[in-house]
């Protein structure tokens, strides 16, 4: 108990010291809190002149006969669409012809076997046809399709759990909850594809630069940690009562807290100055920011365990941060990149964070549809924390 108290005390002192050093470094403060907004302002001006029209029309079609599940989903989508996003139903052949003639940017197609697949528990599919040049339309279609699938999947899991519960608790001879699927599934989907505001540059730029700069400044933790080795402050601490575990935990804590402060400043400034819309689920946006800060803290300390000198630590942090930012959708939207590159970009925390921010903020997605992104960021955080702790040496 005493050793745990000592550990926590030392972690707090180390983190507090690091934050104090950070607060007195004007250059670092400028880089963390002012510089990113210069980028946001600059690029939002550029993107305003190049953005697509604010009123977006999305086409959906189904190959199913009347009465299928897709019929209910489309009805709900069409009646739920409103200002900004207009969802219209069309015939599959007509949609394809319009796309070929470049009259529309893309459309969603529910295949003939959609209902059978979903109800029988098979992997159901929604097909997205798009013109590669219509980036925003494609992103909206992908987001809507992912939302529908995520909600159906969530519903299927719930349904199976209820069915299992009913089967185990019901008296012998009674049936399960037959007939539950159809209408309930549609009502959930309807909620998710409700009002989606047309995308604005700042709704992309603020979160994407948050991703880039939070990761960047936390990766630079590597340089400060190697500097402590080179300046012998780390050795001085070790010759006292500080332990290896308190040192690494202190560094991770200070880095994480710095990331949280930076993210908070981003969102507050984004809301107050840029009128950013955080989507229908702001808490999910905050959760993604927290997980990003955790993952980036782990990366920073891990880099320090790999680098030999502060110069190499700094160079590695810059190189990784910039390449991940470009590759992971912080410089341009992930959804305008070719699909294979989008998939490859998933090796970066940036891609997962940006994908979650884009879904939540640009396309009004629900928390359920960003579960993969949240899970991936959590895995990054745990993996890099683990690597950092494992590799951290003080001698």
């Amino acid at each position: 108990m005493k050793s745990m108290r000592t550990f926590l005390r030392q972690v707090g002192l180390l983190a507090g010291k690091d934050l104090k050093v950070f607060a007195r470094d004007r250059g670092a403060l400028l880089f963390a809190f002012v510089f990113p907004f210069v980028f946001v302002v600059m690029f939002s001006m550029v993107m305003v002149w190049n953005s697509e029209p604010e009123h977006m029309v999305v086409y959906v079609a189904t190959e199913e006969e009347d009465g299928g599940l897709s019929r209910h989903i489309i009805d709900a989508m069409v009646s739920g669409s409103g200002e900004g996003l207009d969802i219209r139903e069309t015939d599959p052949d007509k949609a394809r012809a319009s796309l070929v003639k470049e009259e529309i940017g893309g459309y969603l197609l529910f295949p003939r076997e959609f209902s059978d697949d979903v109800i029988s528990g098979e992997q159901g599919a929604i097909v997205v046809y798009f013109d590669p040049d219509a980036a925003t339309t494609r992103a909206a279609l992908m987001s809507i399709a992912q939302t529908v699938i995520a909600e159906l999947e969530a519903y299927r899991i719930t349904y199976e759990a209820v069915a299992e519960l009913a089967a185990t608790s019901a008296p012998t001879g009674t049936g399960g909850p037959a007939g539950v699927p159809g209408t309930a599934a549609v009502s959930i989907v309807y909620e998710e594809v409700g009002k989606i505001d047309p995308p604005r540059p700042v709704d992309f730029l603020v979160p994407s630069y948050l991703t880039m700069f939070v990761f960047f400044s936390l990766a630079m933790t590597a340089e400060t940690l190697v500097a402590e080795k080179e300046d012998f402050t780390l050795e001085r601490l070790v010759s006292g009562t500080a332990t290896r575990s308190s040192l690494v935990a202190g560094k991770l804590t200070s880095s994480f807290v710095r990331g949280l402060i930076q993210a908070a400043v981003f969102w507050v400034a984004g809301l107050l100055i840029f009128n950013v819309r955080m989507g229908h689920y702001a808490w999910t946006v905050v959760l993604v920011s927290v997980l990003l800060a955790l993952a980036a803290s782990g990366v920073g300390v891990f880099l320090a365990t790999v680098a030999k000198t502060r110069r190499s630590a700094g160079a590695m942090a810059v190189l990784i941060s910039l390449s991940f930012a470009a590759f992971g959708g912080s410089w341009w939207p992930l959804f305008i990149m070719p699909v294979w590159l989008q998939n490859l970009a998933r090796i970066t925390p940036h891609a997962w964070a940006n994908s979650a921010f884009n879904k939540l903020m640009l396309f009004g997605a629900s928390p359920a549809s960003v579960v993969p992104e949240i899970t991936a960021l959590a895995v990054f955080a745990v993996a890099f924390f683990g690597l950092a702790v494992w590799r951290f040496k003080v001698n």
């Binding site: 002192l13 104090k20 402050t233 050795e235 001085r236 601490l237 010759s239 009562t241």
Partner: protein, 252 residues
């Protein structure tokens, strides 16, 4: 181990990639003694100090400090020692007071205790009036004094001073000497390394000369000097060069 001995170094060894940087070093330091460890660059002085201060694992042998083995009980040893490294191990962005309070609190002092100890030690090294100034703005000599003050935060019984006067002006050096002598008078045991022979002559009761990882001579300054003739005429530098040779040593 005689009762007066506070430190006992026994056949201490350290190998780096098969090379013996410290090769069977043995000596004792009495309670309240200033003990000098001299030697050319690469002799193994700093490696010896790092092993004694528990920051470098020991390859062989042992060090007993205040009855505790560095090898078996490093945590107990750390409560007894203070280290003033050769390098300026300071946070330059913080004030002198913040540096001292931080390291003091890491040693387990409460905030009030750390503040009191910090002001007392800054007074001791003549920097009380600059307590709240950023260390980055200090001269080399002032930084050296802060470096020393930090090592005193836990009131150590054994103080390691690894070249504490490198690159400082005569005024700062004299202030550091006065501080060291004051600490000795209060009963602090001190292990002192330096390349300045006149410092060792003035401060140390006994001196061990190291070369190539071994102790090649150990005695009082006067007895060492008398090996070459009249101790009032021979300097410690003469005996040092006689023992270690005149060839250049460029190793770190």
């Amino acid at each position: 181990m005689p009762e007066t001995d506070f430190v006992l170094v026994q056949d201490l060894r350290k190998a780096f990639n098969g090379h013996m940087a410290v090769d069977g070093v043995s000596f004792n330091i009495e309670k309240g003694e200033i003990f000098g460890l001299l030697g050319p660059n690469g002799a193994g002085k700093t490696t010896t100090i790092r092993m004694m201060a528990t920051t470098l694992p020991i390859t062989g042998g042992d060090v007993i400090i205040g009855g505790h083995s560095v090898h078996r009980n490093p945590a107990e040893v750390r409560h007894l020692i203070g280290v003033c490294p050769q390098e300026l191990a300071l946070y330059l962005e913080l004030s002198a007071l913040d540096n001292l309070v931080f390291f003091g609190r890491m040693e387990g002092l409460s905030k009030a205790e750390a503040l009191e100890a910090a002001m007392r030690n800054l007074e001791l090294v003549g920097l009380a009036d600059r307590a709240k100034h950023r260390v980055a703005k200090f001269s080399g000599g002032m930084k050296r004094r802060v470096n020393l003050a930090i090592a005193l935060m836990n009131k150590p019984e054994l103080l390691f001073l690894d070249e504490p006067t490198v690159g400082v002006d005569p005024q700062s050096r004299n202030h550091i000497f006065d501080t060291i002598e004051g600490l000795r008078d209060q009963g602090t045991t001190i292990l002192y390394t330096t390349h300045y022979m006149e410092e060792a002559d003035r401060l140390c009761r006994r001196i061990a000369v190291m070369d190539a990882g071994r102790v090649i001579a150990l005695d009082t300054p006067r007895n060492l000097k008398s090996r070459l003739g009249d101790p009032d005429k021979v300097t410690l530098e003469d005996i040092f060069l006689d023992l270690t040779g005149r060839r250049l040593r460029d190793a770190g």
